[in-house]
């Protein structure tokens, strides 16, 4: 088995169709108003049950969660595998960090189980929606410290945002399973981010350059995981930024503010890109 595993080789059965960020961003349609002149902000796109397409949007997001959990499971498993136990220098990671990654693999396996059951409950078929492999691709760097930043801070942080949104959706809709399950998964994800925050600090204790590089990488990934502003403080973003749970997981207010700014930039950049593409297409 190779030491590192390329995203293109992630194994799936024939029901799943994979896509990536480049293809997603080449789609020149937009769910939000992109007109520059629009003075007021666009209508709310927040994923709440009062949206006319609430169930369909929730199904699509739940499927996204399920494939995201598969990738998180694969990522955690790979980290347990890819790096030898050592003192944390070079390509090695502490033995205890490998153990944490194995634990995370189990947690993510349960999350796949939970989201597959929830998908079924919501009427979704496995593979019904395309799978964006950006989570694995962006988060699974070959440098263990960057991987911690990408997976356990950026990806798991996104999971906190998404689960908080879905939990609220279940609560408002009165769905007895959705809220229950999301709350459990949220508890695990907060643990995973905490793991990442603690290990990042520990492993880079005597290497400020390495730490700075990791945090820089995390920002790049965070912006990517905003999915063109699909996640953000703005009501135009379907998924909000879960400030309270992020704080519980060890994000500082400054860090969350930075993510909020990047989400905002990503949304505006996406709108501008769509506007240009639509103008060019004459629609």
């Amino acid at each position: 088995m190779r030491q590192f595993f390329p995203v293109d080789d992630l194994a799936r059965d024939e029901r799943f169709v994979q896509t990536n960020m480049a293809k997603r961003m080449a789609d020149s349609r937009s769910a939000v108003g992109v007109k520059k002149s629009a003075k007021s902000r666009g209508a709310s796109n927040r994923l709440t049950p009062d949206r006319h397409d609430a169930s369909e949007a929730a199904r699509s997001l739940m499927h996204g969660i399920m494939v995201g959990e598969i990738q998180a499971l694969e990522g955690a498993g790979r980290t347990a595998h890819d790096f030898a136990a050592g003192d944390g220098s070079g390509d090695t990671i502490p033995f205890e960090l490998k153990l944490d990654m194995a634990r995370q693999a189990w947690d993510e396996a349960r999350h796949v189980e939970i989201s597959a059951k929830l998908s079924d409950w919501m009427g979704t078929e496995l593979g019904q929606f395309s799978e964006n492999t950006v989570l694995f691709e962006a988060a699974c760097s070959n440098d263990p410290v960057l991987r911690l930043a990408g997976v356990n801070r950026a990806l798991e942080g996104l999971a906190i945002d998404v689960f908080t949104q879905m939990k609220e959706f279940g609560q408002l809709a009165g769905d007895p399973f959705l809220e229950f399950c999301e709350d459990w998964m949220l508890a695990d994800e907060v643990t995973h981010v905490k793991m990442g925050s603690d290990w990042l600090r520990k492993v880079t204790e005597n290497d400020p350059d390495r730490r700075a590089k990791a945090l820089e990488f995390q920002q790049v990934v965070d912006k990517l995981f905003s999915f063109g502003g699909a996640r953000g403080d703005s009501d135009e973003s379907p998924i909000g930024l879960a400030r309270r749970f992020r704080e519980l997981a060890g994000f500082t207010d400054d860090e969350v503010d930075t993510i909020a700014e990047m989400d905002h930039d990503a949304l505006e950049e996406r709108k501008a890109a769509v506007r240009l593409a639509q103008e060019a297409a004459g629609v």
């Binding site: 088995m1 498993g77 790979r78 490998k98």
Partner: protein, 215 residues
């Protein structure tokens, strides 16, 4: 006022009539540490392999099982890691080694299959060759070590064995559901034979004597 209870003796034998544990054991501290080091190394290689394979298997149920089992073996490795200093090994890494070269070669051979079409080979290596060897070595150790001086090792062996049995059963179920044609039967048995041969050369998880001698 004095009662019968005040005057009744509380002196009892140190071992109750139902407690018939024995003092002698087959392993001294150094031998126990050596075996525990081999256990830790092999459990570690196993959880690394399972974690690595998660991304390589297309069958969703197998993917999730491997992720779950990955943690079981990581936990065993952790328990053995913590046992080593209690056995006077202050540098656990020193004893975190394979029993011999053949054992190292076994792990290399077991972890070689990577392609998405090789799920049977991956599972055969783990569930039909390696885990049965864990069950054997752990059982032998549990039944032969001192029940009194080495109680902590026995406790860990029991926890680990419970997982090994459960995972073995899971693995066997997955394999029986995947092996449905004569060609798949051939693949499974050929791979098992090849790995088994290296394992025999290694003598088991802790080398020759993993399950005692053939007296």
């Amino acid at each position: 006022m004095s009662t019968d209870a005040d005057t009744a003796s509380t002196a009892r034998a140190p071992f109750a009539p139902w407690d018939r544990r024995d003092l002698p054991g087959a392993f001294d501290v150094a031998e126990t540490a050596r075996r525990v080091g081999n256990y830790k190394w092999t459990e570690m290689k196993l959880f690394e392999a399972l974690g690595g394979w998660v991304a390589t298997v297309p069958e969703l149920d197998v993917k999730m099982r491997l992720g779950t089992h990955c943690y079981h073996h990581a936990w065993h490795a952790e328990l053995w890691h913590k046992r080593l200093p209690e056995l006077r090994e202050m540098k656990p890494e020193r004893l975190t080694v394979p029993a011999n070269d053949a054992m190292a070669r076994f792990i290399t051979a077991m972890t070689e299959p990577e392609g998405p079409e090789l799920t049977i080979e991956k599972l055969v290596g783990v569930y039909r060759v390696l885990i049965p060897r864990f069950v054997a070595a752990y059982t032998y150790h549990m039944n032969n070590t001192s029940e009194i001086t080495d109680a902590p090792t026995i406790r860990t062996l029991k926890f680990a064995l419970q997982d090994e049995f459960d995972d073995w059963r899971d693995g066997e179920l997955m394999l029986q559901s995947l092996i449905t044609t004569p060609d798949q039967v051939r693949r499974a048995s050929e791979h098992q034979s090849a790995l088994e041969a290296i394992m025999v050369e290694a003598g088991g998880i802790t080398g020759p004597g993993s399950i005692g001698g053939a007296e």
